[in-house]
Symmetry: D2
Subunit: 149 residues, 4 copies
């Protein structure tokens, strides 16, 4: 699919991402972006594990949510903000690895709602392995005053 | 619903929760628990906000997921572990507040799968406000060797 | 929660429900309604079973989706329509029974989006049993021209 | 991904599908199948519309659920049955068309749980258009006695 963008969408997306303290705290950063797509990565971080020593499902979801939200954001008008309406994550395999990649893409853009999906991959030794999938609905919020979620 | 438990389920649940580094890093702790139920809370934490200064949707999901997972865990046999199969979160209102409460309960226990739900509430001044809801499927994993997710 | 309604919301809801051919074909009807709430029921119907002779999960979802959509509709302005953005169903127990009840309620109303949940119960002999749960996001569509989903 | 199958999986899948009265009633049939994949189709059917004359979201979900369930079933041992644990559908565009196609595939097989996804496409004149997406968790049930959902 070919998507329309507004102005310098890439700079706007990176600047908004940099305001997400949660991503900084978890050590997640942008690897790349394109219209309607975003790639994040995160090194394994002992501070965000669950009781078996794997990365916490909520942290994987945080990264997929952010990837999906900013993939949607790349298509939004300059004065708009993005909010997550809902998300669903499925955990296909244990989050075991030295490094984690998150790729999100827009399934269907819209003026009010943007449908997205994201995939999480663990790099464990030499083999990348898909560990989780998400679908999420993102909302376009016009103007800061409209920020409600 | 009246639920069956095994041995000192409360001590086991608290001990397993304490091994979740992610909860410690986010400042989330257990307020209370009962058979098939768990209450967590978290003070507002600037380190886990999104771009508008509210608590990150992924962090709220992390807390609801953990609350639901351990609500399920309270009903499991002594040698069993818990894994999240999938979760869906809906974000009803902005995560604005000084404090956040998370309550999870088991909807339906089972030998292999346990269905759960969780609710997140923000305490903003004097008014508690429901900000998010989750349903999640948890899996009972027998023995450490069986840990696969 | 106390909800605001517009005009004769009950007559409008019943009239719109009557235009759902799918409900008629499945033998599903309205038992009752209130602001932000709706109750449907359906007798067991051999024509809508799956391979084990239970009611099909998709049919249960159809009823929960409709219950939730019209629970949202009871709160909408007179010229508005309702569309399902997304839904998630969990199947807690086999859909075995002589009769099925579906209760939906609005979790959070909004100008654009309305969050809902629904519960399906099977009446098998004397014991009602919860068999499924759904959460769904509904969209308010202004004017027929705006119907997009 | 290359999947392992058991015996004449194709004949077993078609025979089990034929026992789904719900699919017959809705006019849905198998177009094709492969290990871990299934294609269904359905002509537009006025008897299964919602209040705007489009195909009911629950009917689309029924078809996606069945496609996903039988995609999982193609990979199961001979004596096993399949049950839907949970599903989430997103509705990307109105279900307007003369014909609807449903394609499902296994994302990750397992001994107990099988993760799947499905896509619904409307054929409206000459243009196929994606109208819905689903992810669902399927459960492998050993023996008829084990049928619990």
């Amino acid at each position: 699919m070919k998507f329309e963008t507004y102005g310098d969408y890439a700079a706007r997306t990176r600047a908004s991402f940099d305001r997400q303290a949660a991503m900084r705290s978890m050590g997640i950063r942008i690897d790349d972006l394109a219209p309607g797509e975003l790639w994040l990565s995160m090194p394994f971080n002992e501070g965000f594990t669950q009781q078996h020593g794997f990365l916490h499902a909520g942290v994987i979801t945080s990264a997929m949510d952010t990837a999906a939200g900013f993939a949607a954001y790349t298509l939004m008008p300059e004065e708009a903000g993005v909010l997550t309406v809902e998300l669903k994550s499925s955990f296909l395999a244990p989050a075991r690895g030295q490094r984690f990649n998150f790729h999100a893409r827009v399934l269907k853009p819209g003026r009010t709602l943007i449908f997205t999906e994201a995939v999480a991959t663990a790099i464990d030794g030499e083999n990348p392995r898909e560990i989780a999938r998400m679908t999420a609905t993102m909302m376009v919020v016009q103007g800061r005053a409209g920020v409600t979620g």
